[in-house]
Chain length 238, copies 2
Amino acid sequence: MQRYTGQKRLLVAVDCIVFGFDGQSIKLLLVKRSIEPYKNKWSLMGGFMQPDETPDDAANRVLEYRTGLKNVYLEQLHVFGSPDRDPVERTLSIAYFALIDINKYEQQLVDEFHAEWIEIKDLPELIFDHGDMVRMAKKQLRYKAALHPILFHLLPERFTIPQLQALYEGIFQAEFDDRNFSRKVLSTGLLVKLPEKDKQSSKKGAFYYRLNQTEYLENFDSFLNFVPNPDKLLTENL
Amino acid sequence: MQRYTGQKRLLVAVDCIVFGFDGQSIKLLLVKRSIEPYKNKWSLMGGFMQPDETPDDAANRVLEYRTGLKNVYLEQLHVFGSPDRDPVERTLSIAYFALIDINKYEQQLVDEFHAEWIEIKDLPELIFDHGDMVRMAKKQLRYKAALHPILFHLLPERFTIPQLQALYEGIFQAEFDDRNFSRKVLSTGLLVKLPEKDKQSSKKGAFYYRLNQTEYLENFDSFLNFVPNPDKLLTENL
DNA sequence: ACAAAAGTGTTGTTTTTACACCCATGC
DNA sequence: GCATGGGTGTAAAAACAACACTTTTGT
């Protein structure tokens, strides 16, 4: 077998910034590091890339191992590679951000892995450069969410418009006009109205909706402002 | 010195997708690979990451070595890590895309490094997964350019509005209304009118402009559509 | 009947778009 | 003086924001 000679090889890890939403606030899933140094300090969920994996494979594996969840919304964020970011040994880390429905997360795993959902407003100090990763992930989440309908991944299959609005308000730290919000959301054609209502949070009750999967996939890229003829631009040839 | 035991280390490279614009068409700077296998096949400019470098350092180094240019607009795109992407040995590649003023590129380097500016419409087959990298870079360029004023990096310091329009039309493969285009661009306040005109391409002549560096930095994130209160969203706390 | 939240209708404002037309200049 | 692009003016259309008001239902 051939090899490239004279080049140094290095460790590569993946770290996942896992977002959740409990109806009130945005949270991150953190774990306590199990090995020295920094044992028991807060950390993102991570793991080393294995020889036969792609980076996406590795991130999915880590996520499934730690949360029991498959088919999670997962997006490669950025490679962090400062030579001294890990004091043990030089390690490159590919950061991913994930959006999961917090209700699907098995509470038992909190104990098993010393994991914890922690409000994003009140994060503890994190090891290595994980704080930078979180900062970038927050920024990217807003960026993406402003242009694409990704926040649905943080909600259960069935949700109400007011729930969706609370989520958007949490993410963007802004209050939206209720009436305009629901109209705008509905006008996208992404939602399917269900017959039942949620009676928990109001007397009148709010109808449940679910995502129209087909529309979701088709309209994922509908956005743009600076340039006319939006839509398909990103899929067409340059 | 401590080490993580039982983990495989791997090679990490950077590859740069370098965009240029000659007034007519969008081009990529490609090189002929100098080593076996695939010697003399078309390739992106790349190199291995060195022990003391960050990925950004490595990309800048590769770019300066091959083009002689510093302070180029460079953005990390994506990590490509399919286990068999390089037949010689497993190698992770961090892809970067770069925007350079094609006029600043020294023509002599074309010879020195067997580099070539090739129209993006007419690319040859590339080694490894470089074709995928280019595809993603094209998409990302459009995406970013639709929301942020980055295309100026492809132009000389002084440029005319019609030149800028030709560039946008090239990138988005669409025709824009001249009158609306110039008004829209001017309304951003990003451009400073210079006293001279370019008389090359028309009898009346078009005024030269340059970028207002301060405004550029301040307004880089001004965009957004789906969510009210645009601007500062990305820099504020979540 | 009343309070409280969901959701619809209406209206004024701003942003886009389309396009007529004027401007400056080289030939 | 006329052809050629550069650039301004204007009006119609579309998108957006603000907010009055109606609807539903638990107490």
